[in-house]
Amino acid sequence: MAILRKRLLGMTLPGLLLGVLCGMFTGMSAYTFYFAEGLSYLSNDPDACINCHIMNEQHDSWLKSPHHNVAVCNDCHVPQGFFAKYYTKAEHGYRHSKGFTLQDFHEPIRMKESSREIVQQNCLRCHQSFVSEIAGHESGNGETPDCIRCHSQAAHGPVR
């Protein structure tokens, strides 16, 4: 989140919108955008993600996770502030479409460091009070424990 906030702070509102638009239109022709159901990225429906078969595995494992009836993909994978949300959607939309089209991404797919931070912030968003005692002391180095280190199975189920 820290990274994202830094990135966003350096941007004006028009800059942000431009980012969103660039993501949509330079990454995909309008046709591609339509055919690959590019609007997926703007929707909240997990089925939108599996328009890309590449996401099947994560979708299936999410279905088996204790979260599948309380959190959809976007609850974890995009930040919740309005601008941050659409910025991220655009950025992912661009990068993933490019990856999908050029088939030049690393497999198995791994979250970028910035995506990990977004997820971590979302864990905290929902579980804030439960982890208040462990999540960071008022002073000291203030680092929050990495939730995913112990709970990766909570999000995508036992068998990956």
């Binding site: 995909m28 022709s29 046709y31 591609t32 055919f35 999908f100 497999e107 198995p108 990956r160």
Partner: protein, 443 residues
Amino acid sequence: YLGQNIMERKAEARLASFKIVELSESVVDPAEWGKNFPRQYDSYKRTVDIERTKHGGSDAFQKLDDDPRWRILFKGYAFGVDYREERGHAYMLSDQDITERLHVVKQPGACLHCHSSVIPAYRKAGKEAGVPDAGGFNWPQVMAGFEKVCAMPYPEARKLVEHPVTCGDCHDPQSVALRVTRPAFIYGMRALARSDDPVPHMPSVERWRKGSRKEEYDPNKEASRQEMRSFVCGQCHVEYYFKGPEKLLTYPWHKGLKMEQAEAYYDEVKHVDWKHAQSGAGVLKAQHPEFELWSQGIHARSGVSCADCHMPYVREGAIKISDHHIRSPLLNIARACQPCHNYSEAEIKARAETIQDRTKAMMLRAEDATVDLIQALEAQRKAGVSDSALDKAFALHRKAQWRLDYVAAENSMGFHAPQESARILAEAIDFARQGQIEALKAK
């Protein structure tokens, strides 16, 4: 352009395979199978590739030159003449033809069980032995033929086969489902199921044991798909011996899959591979116990099969296929390991090599100890000490050599079961040094 690309991929996802030729038990040539399954066939052909890793790979260098202690350790046995790093499946038949081991000693047809696509030959021999034809695989014929071909002299049997391992050895020609075809494996698994060695990584065996036990355990009927993904490899990547004058290929699993259980079996049937030319002890040779050592490791216990690492899924467009380029997973870490281990490729390699380096260091220590024992025995015999006075030391040489060779002949340099390999080597060292002490004391 972009849109078209996506359309292609969506289409691809639907058409995984076309039925172009009709496959049956009699179709041995992989090129025929390849017409229906071109992707698998393409990767299958790549087992001709040659590449080296730190402790493995497919460069068939001479192990006896790499570490000359093995010339001493194998003194008096065919392995002391030619013993190479193994390589891809494409070479299995030709490498057998060219090994010096075949020229210095008369070998039986039994070898072909694991070095060729042998089933049609078994069927033919079975028919000659009087078992009638029948549709499909015809197990009775295959089993009868197996016995006959094992006993043949190698050059005669060699004429019956043409291909290294091919599709039908692991797949049903109709359904392409996995199957095992090797008689020695069938017999081995029957014996294992009847033993009481716990095998938590083989749930179908544990289940069979709880049943009526009226019929023998049959992997083709009982095993899960995940188990079959290791069983097809366990057909060949196992310790074996040729039983009796019939040279019947046999896997020593009657007491269980552990190193000392095989040893106890050999002791019971009084099997000796050869009399060591320098020490005079009757010793055993271990051969590629990958299946057995993997069985003792944490991966097997976690349900990770041979195919998971050695034939990982690769995505070809929209479909995932099993990589039939079977090789060292360390040449393919992203696909072989990263689906389960979320570290960088460099880090995963470092972890595997740390395990292998430790094993190697212990192995060298065990080699030194066993060579010291051999030399102590040789010295005493030269000094005129009688064989009966050296009995205890002979027995210890047998134990030490078996343990050392068990880890050395296994091809993962300890990776398949790190702690178990270390345990085996620790025992090798202990027995070798104890043997040396017994030899020194003997008069």
